[in-house]
């Protein structure tokens, strides 16, 4: 007789589209992710419960640890311009190639005269501990002040925005070292800046 036939439906779904989307997103995230580069001056930031993120651009980071100060700047064009201004100020000529390399560098901590040799080094050699003595910041030769000042000029020139300053201090650093840097900033009427901290649990 008329036998009712159940149509056999396949349980599997076509995954091709989903797979496409997944890999598209994956590619996007891989490309936007920046590889973590080893820091020249490793610091152990103290933890806090405040959860404000640092801005991605227009930022100068002053890393303070072991009595040394290292300087880092975001944005390639801003870095190039800052280097130019610093070169003019201290009478050091930088070639275009050196500027290009400097734009891609991480934070550094050498006097302007020693900058050329640091730029010429390989990435891995730069990070050797004890190689970079920190940026001079005493009243006789206050290069840190000049760096911040010129970086601000460069940032306004290129990004048309005021430069933000963040201080990344080591937890064990003594207060006078931090105070010294804060004073340098305050002398330039930078009265508001960020302190980089780690994340602490809620129930602290």
């Amino acid at each position: 007789m008329a036998k009712l036939k159940m149509s056999k439906k396949s349980t599997s779904i076509d995954m091709t589209a989903m797979c496409d989307v997944a890999f598209l997103l994956l590619t996007f995230f891989i490309l936007t992710a920046t590889a973590k580069v080893p820091e020249v001056l490793p610091v152990d930031t103290p933890a806090s419960t405040v959860q404000t993120k640092l801005p991605e651009t227009d930022l100068a980071t002053l890393t303070i640890g072991k009595g040394k100060v290292f300087f880092d700047l975001k944005g390639r064009e801003v870095r190039k311009k800052t280097l130019e201004l610093m070169g003019e100020k201290y009478g050091v000529k930088f070639t275009d190639e050196e500027k290009e390399k400097f734009a891609l560098m991480e934070s550094f901590g050498v006097p302007v005269n020693g900058l050329k040799s640091i730029i010429a080094m390989k990435n891995s050699d730069r990070n050797l501990p004890g190689l970079q003595p920190g940026i001079p910041k005493d009243s006789l030769d206050n290069q840190l002040k000049e760096w911040i000042y010129n970086a601000r000029i460069a940032n306004i020139d290129i990004q048309d925005k005021e430069l933000q300053v963040a201080i990344k201090g080591d937890a064990k650093e003594e207060y006078p070292a931090i105070k010294k840097v804060m004073d340098i900033l305050q002398d330039q009427k930078i009265n508001s800046f960020s302190l980089v901290t780690g994340l602490r649990g809620k129930n602290f």
Binding site: M15, C19, L26, F29, P46, A171, E174, Y175, N191, L195
Partner: protein, 190 residues
Amino acid sequence: MAELNTGDGGGGKGGKVRSKKQNSKVDLTAMVDLAFLLITFFMLTTTLSKPQSMSLGLPDKDDDPTKNKDIKVDEKRTLTILMGGNNQLKFYMGLLGSPIAGPKDIVYGKNGIREELLKRKKSVLEYTGNKDKGLIVIIKPSKKSSYKNLIDILDEMAIVDVPTYAIVDIDPSEVKLLEGTTAEAKSANP
């Protein structure tokens, strides 16, 4: 789910050789699983690796000392925190010469300074009766205090939500106060 081999065994009925129906579909489930796992990983690492920061505002500073005016505030509203070396912490309420409370040793953290701050914040509000005139905390880090101590205290300010606070240089008399207790502590625990 898996749909790789669906062709039946072939033989069985007679000797008819049937060409196997090859399925062109590949099972993508595992691949999608993997892709999403990686997506999750990259998403989390990109957003979580951004460093945290706290913003700090300092008052205007003028090199000319005559222009730096002292701001007069009610001493009953001020609580001064003194930070010494080795995580030493002291506080007093009001003026050092005639303190309302303290100077007393206190510890960092939940059961120490935070409890005190919350208590003081409430009592100051009761005293002034004005919402805009809350507690004023003066933070005085000594030369021996570490950066971590400063962040800890600033963090407490954020947690307790102290309306006004300032970082001020320490006075010599307060340094003596801090050092006096360390000397005593040393003699007590040789």
